[in-house]
Symmetry: C2
Subunit: 345 residues, 2 copies
Amino acid sequence: MSEPVSIHMVAARAGCSIATVSRVINGTAQTSAEVRERVEEAVSALAYRPSEIGRSLKTRKTRTIGIVVPSFTNPVFASSIAGVEEVARAHSRTVLLTATEYHGEREEEIVETLLAKQVEGLVLTVADADNSRALDRLDAAKVPYVLLYNQPARADRYAVSVDNIAGARELVGQLIALGHKRIAFVAGRFRTSDRSLLRYQGCVEAMDEAGLPKPEVLEVDYAGDQPEEPDVLATKLRGLNAPTALFCSNDLLALAVIAASRSIGMKVPGDVSVAGFDGISIGTMIEPSLASIAQPTRAMGTEAMEILHALCQAAPVEPGVRLLQHQFRPGGSIAAAPVESKGGT
Amino acid sequence: MSEPVSIHMVAARAGCSIATVSRVINGTAQTSAEVRERVEEAVSALAYRPSEIGRSLKTRKTRTIGIVVPSFTNPVFASSIAGVEEVARAHSRTVLLTATEYHGEREEEIVETLLAKQVEGLVLTVADADNSRALDRLDAAKVPYVLLYNQPARADRYAVSVDNIAGARELVGQLIALGHKRIAFVAGRFRTSDRSLLRYQGCVEAMDEAGLPKPEVLEVDYAGDQPEEPDVLATKLRGLNAPTALFCSNDLLALAVIAASRSIGMKVPGDVSVAGFDGISIGTMIEPSLASIAQPTRAMGTEAMEILHALCQAAPVEPGVRLLQHQFRPGGSIAAAPVESKGGT
DNA sequence: ATCGATTATGAAAACGTTTTCAAGCAGACT
DNA sequence: AGTCTGCTTGAAAACGTTTTCATAATCGAT
């Protein structure tokens, strides 16, 4: 903070010009062994580290990328961020982190800030990938970016995701195979998550295919990352038309739904089956374990960052959505549907 | 990436000097309404955003802070990061994020990188706050930092934590009150977490006080954030001397321990009580709910960032460790100790 | 010995800002 | 009319780098 050691001091101590110091440090040109040694001595004696700021200004490269996600506390995002960061570091890039807290309207402002910081590219998860002023801004600025968890319709955008529709279909297919006919979709934030909508769509398709009516939908409010109060949620659950299975748009929500069900005396999976989406690791440790669609979250982060890295150095990359493999994760939270009481409630 | 619009272009379009543009943008001096209007027109027409790089170079302020934590995927760190980021944004600072992945030896290199990026300060959780070359480096560079979750002995360092010893004592006290006499401490990473060690110490003190022998210790290996394979863990648990309660050094570990116990037919809490430390929110949603010591993780993040912000602008702040209030969170995972079979195994 | 070719080095420009300094200019006062 | 004050503006320096260009020095070859 108070003793900034610049290249000039190193040059002074080594008795040469700053140009030579720069050459020694970056190995960008031949230098005599003698002067090289003096420079190296000075560098370590002064604990000199070239300022990335000065360097960036000249080279117009910051080696910094930005991340924009709805939240850190959702394990899905946390672990993909970890993946991004790992790859970023491997390519000696650093990561500027921001969260929208699920406020889609903040996206644009956040992107603006990141742009001012001269990030070379971004990895982001937006509310609606096909209608985002933030993305338009990035396109205009010609700053490369890779979407994560979004599945944009536009083919010119880069994205890494799983096939949300197929995943949801698969999961709901399992429920149907277990004999469930009245399946409700418990939706987190339809409005701020196109993923949620796609999963709903997959659910509808699976039920359609099986000749079942559209699922009932229960929309849940959130406070930050946590679903609303357990008793409010419980009340809402009670208001449903006696579904035998609940498909929740994500695992965190499923956990809350299980807890709420329990609180109103509904046994899981005895009275009602509950499934989620994401495959967070905690789901396997609880009892009953949570049936879900597992996404390779960390790998999605690393993949996104690899693409972004390529883009940053203007390497040719095929645009479009990379769909990584999802996997049905069975769990004790779902079971065969209870036998239907004839014409009952 | 390819059309960088600089202050010069704005000046050219507005027909004035770059100095005037700067003044209009920052409002740092009076300008005539006429020229101000022209500048504003140019700014919005060109979608100009001052480069933070250029600005930082001149002002020697980057308005960027660094975060160093062991991992993002541990909810404890994730939520305090969220707190840090929130406050940082409120003070219009951005956050550079890095994880050590629990490799203490990486800390120094990471700090070095962050320093080169000219961060104005750091929030970090280190392996051992009293013996850290990374912190020494920061002291030498006179860059302010605030520790999070660490409780350094040195009184000149800033830190935000809970009282780990007191928390552990309190929790173990509860176990003892429930009649437990053989309590084992399940330790995650003694070597890379001084928190773990403090919690152990608290456990020992509580047992000492009650005239009980030192707790048996089970040390667990990790792969990244997840404890070792469930069956390995289960085997290790079986090797213990029939404790009636397991105090785990953190909640994630406790969850794994519960799952492992279940896998070898030990009922929780019927056969063995299990408690954790941290109070992660998922702990309240599972069955049985997890008894733990809740830390105000997000508040710890905001507090740390507030202190750092003050430090960054050279405001006087009392050094030392801020201990935030922890709270015993009761849970169904602990229950009265089974009655002791006379002189049994 | 002289010449061209090669190598090591330094001076200076450039990157995009902020800020100091001086100057221009209007109006107000003597 | 002349001076002073106050307000607005521009030129230029500075921040810490990298890089271009030129120069000095070394060397082998004629």
